[in-house]
């Protein structure tokens, strides 16, 4: 089906080859997982298969790539025989309803209208999309990826390529996607999945290919999976083969229509204490009491008359990491914006017992956004740190950079750093400007095991500095590592 022979590839902007001596054959109907730590070339391998390399990304390609027996001449040609699903479901949608999205490829390939309608009906039935309603952007992440998979196979390609499809999904979303993949596999679609989360693929994969330095380092076939151990995974820098355990996290104190009460959570009955979560540090009660933190009182927020957030009272203590969880539409982002003083609301927000105005909160809060490029303004790491730093803190710039492993990069352009480095740079600016509240918004999308741990360390350090740390995340692996408290939100209704 797909054949890569001694392929070498270097992106134009990078000087070293990302793919170097890659040989990989994928047979018809096979389900292959391509994994490896960040930078190992797993996404690039996938891009070779759908032609994005070299027809979309510029660089230097050597070696042979054949898909369905043919070399790739242009993207539309390879697009007819492969479907592709990317990390961010919303970004790849071209339209805003399910049926138009399914029809998109068929329309572009010039299929007659009646044939398109027939095919769209079939796919809606096959993937049970009839039960989803509303606009694409209002669906949950898992539902969106289900639509993305359906839209990628509506024109009937025999192969589906998925590039880290679970990066932005909750455990429920992953379960949803797993069901779709199982269905596709059973109907004979060839699946190639570049992933760092492996647990959901354990039952599906025929083969796991581990990449390292741009080539295949190890291959495990289906009958070898049971012998794989946690140590082997760690050695390769891979995330766990077992689904992350829902470890018990103490609920943050809070109540109100938006807050899911702790008792109704089914997990509570299953788990007792910290099952194997050695890194999940128990909150230090003493420090919490002394340090104060944020108290929310009577917070209400509405968009166009529709209430989205309603918290009667909640306490977010300083010095610990409080996870904010809950489904899409439960108001997690709105809560972050309220805390940061970016959102109009009724009710009050107290920090260390004092009411804080919105503009005051803007000066006391930092948000590490999901897309950090949005918050990097200057042309070098040093300049970025100087921007808005408190004068008395400015002297610590070097120490903070060293702490965050950024000390060798001071003259680099922030946009040229890796995603993880950019995140840490934003954390550094928050520290230097003495922010008391630091919010991490989905920091772990597309991150391997090592980065997950370093990210946890970063958050932990910020908390230990006495800040109120909020972690908005779906990522069960990260929550298991980092969360001390959990404030679970639910949609109001």
């Amino acid at each position: 089906m797909i054949e890569l022979k001694n392929v070498r590839w270097a992106y134009q902007e990078g000087d070293t080859a990302v793919i170097d001596g890659l040989d990989l054959r994928i047979r018809r109907g096979e389900t292959v997982v391509v994994c490896g730590p960040s930078g190992s070339g797993k996404s690039s391998a996938l891009r070779l298969m759908n032609g994005l390399i070299p027809h979309f990304h510029d660089g230097k390609l050597e070696g042979e790539v054949r898909v369905a027996g043919e070399p790739i001449t242009d993207l539309a040609q390879v697009g007819r025989v492969t479907g592709t699903v990317l990390q961010h479901p919303r970004r790849q949608f071209f339209t805003d309803t399910i049926d138009t999205e399914l029809a998109f490829a068929l329309e572009n390939f010039g299929t007659p209208p009646e044939r398109i309608r027939e095919r769209v009906r079939e796919v809606v039935a096959e993937f049970r999309l009839g039960e989803l309603d509303g606009r694409l952007r209002e669906l949950s992440g898992g539902q969106q990826q289900r639509v993305a998979c359906a839209a990628a196979v509506t024109h009937g390609p025999p192969t589906l390529l998925l590039d880290e499809p679970t990066s932005n999904l909750s455990p429920q979303g992953i379960a949803d996607l797993t069901a779709v993949l199982r269905h596709l596999r059973e109907r004979g679609t060839t699946l190639v999945i570049a992933e760092h989360r492996l647990h959901y693929l354990r039952e599906l994969a025929d083969r796991i290919v581990v990449m390292q330095d741009g080539r295949v380092a190890k291959e495990w076939s289906r009958d070898e999976f049971p012998r794989l151990t946690e140590e082997m995974m760690r050695e390769e820098g891979l995330r766990s083969l077992d689904a992350p355990k829902r470890i018990h996290v103490a609920p943050a104190s809070g109540h109100g229509p938006s807050v899911q009460p702790a008792k109704t959570r089914p997990e509570d009955t299953e788990s007792t204490g910290e099952a194997g979560g050695a890194t999940a540090v128990a909150p230090a009660a003493g420090r919490e009491a002394a340090g104060g933190g944020v108290v929310l009182r009577g917070i209400r927020c509405a968009f166009r008359g529709r209430p989205v957030l309603d918290i009667t009272e909640a306490h977010l203590p300083a010095g610990v990491i409080t996870a904010v969880t809950g489904p899409n539409g439960a108001g997690k982002t709105t809560l972050a914006r309220v805390l940061a003083g970016l959102q109009r609301h009724s009710g009050e927000v107290l920090l260390d017992g004092r009411t804080m105005s919105r503009s005051r909160r803007q000066r006391e809060t930092a948000i590490v956004m999901q897309d950090v490029q949005r918050q990097l303004f200057t042309d070098s790491v040093t300049a970025e740190l100087r921007l808005g730093a408190v004068p008395e803190q400015a002297g610590h710039a070097a120490t903070v950079l060293a702490d965050l492993d950024l000390d060798r990069f001071d003259e680099r352009h922030p946009l040229s750093l890796s995603g993880g480095q950019q995140q840490r740079l934003v954390v550094a600016t928050a520290r230097l400007s003495g922010r008391r509240v630091v919010i991490f918004d989905e920091p772990s999308s597309g991150v391997d095991r090592r980065h997950l741990q370093s990210m946890t360390r970063t958050m932990r350090d910020v908390a230990e500095g006495g800040a109120v740390v909020l972690l908005i995340s779906h990522d069960a692996d990260l929550l298991a590592l980092a969360a001390d408290r959990e404030l679970r939100l639910r949609p109001i209704r």
């Binding site: 902007e13 979309f56 993207l75 539309a76 042309d379 352009h413 922030p414 946009l415 040229s416």
Partner: protein
């Protein structure tokens, strides 16, 4: 000989990727222009200032766009979809004409510079920016009607005369020139930020 000819031929074929790029930058351009124009709400008297500011600001995405243009036609397509969008949200249709005219001049300038010249690319942006004139053209021919309207007949003739001179063709020409000047500033700023940020960050 043939090599010479192919070298100088104007290639109008655009790949799907070029077209998508044009759409993306068209959206960036429109949002930049639109958001800086929002400042207008502070005071309507600011209209001219804010359109100047938005021309300058939109120079940044435009100059980045030019780094991805390697052949003729792309700037014209950009002008058509940008002014076409403006038409859809209620701008005067003459904007489309002015926009295409400006874009053709910009194309000629770029072609003269073989799509590489920095100076000519700044001029090209200034030419492209003249479509703003189209937005306000009707305001100037609205003036005649306004001044000759029955309401004005009741006003002091001295007042009408003063108003007439304030809205004379001279002012119109000055406004046209101001878009070119703002375009030049925007082009220079765009180039500067291109070097300072996007080139350094590897986005060019």
């Amino acid at each position: 000989m043939t090599v010479e000819v192919t070298d100088h031929r104007i290639d109008l074929r655009m790949s799907p990727r070029d077209l998508i790029n044009i759409g993306v930058f068209g959206a960036l351009y429109i949002v930049t222009v639109g958001l800086f124009n929002l400042l207008e709400f502070i005071s309507p008297v600011m209209t001219l200032v804010t359109s100047g500011l938005s021309i300058v600001a939109a120079g940044v995405p435009f100059m980045l766009f030019l780094t991805r243009v390697r052949h003729a036609g792309m700037v014209t397509v950009l002008a058509v979809i940008v002014t076409g969008f403006m038409l859809l949200i209620g701008s005067p249709p003459v904007t489309l004409l002015v926009g295409v005219l400006g874009a053709l001049i910009a194309e000629a300038l770029l072609y003269m510079g073989r799509y590489r010249s920095r100076q000519l690319s700044v001029l090209a942006y200034a030419a492209f920016s003249t479509w703003f004139v189209g937005l306000f053209l009707p305001m100037f021919y609205a003036r005649d009607e306004f001044l000759s309207s029955p309401y004005m007949a009741e006003m002091d003739p001295d007042y009408v005369e003063k108003l007439d001179s304030l809205l004379s063709p001279g002012v119109l020409i000055a406004f046209d020139l101001s878009t070119v000047v703002f375009g030049l500033i925007g082009g220079v700023l765009g180039l500067r930020l291109l070097d300072k940020h996007f080139r350094k960050a590897g986005l060019v």
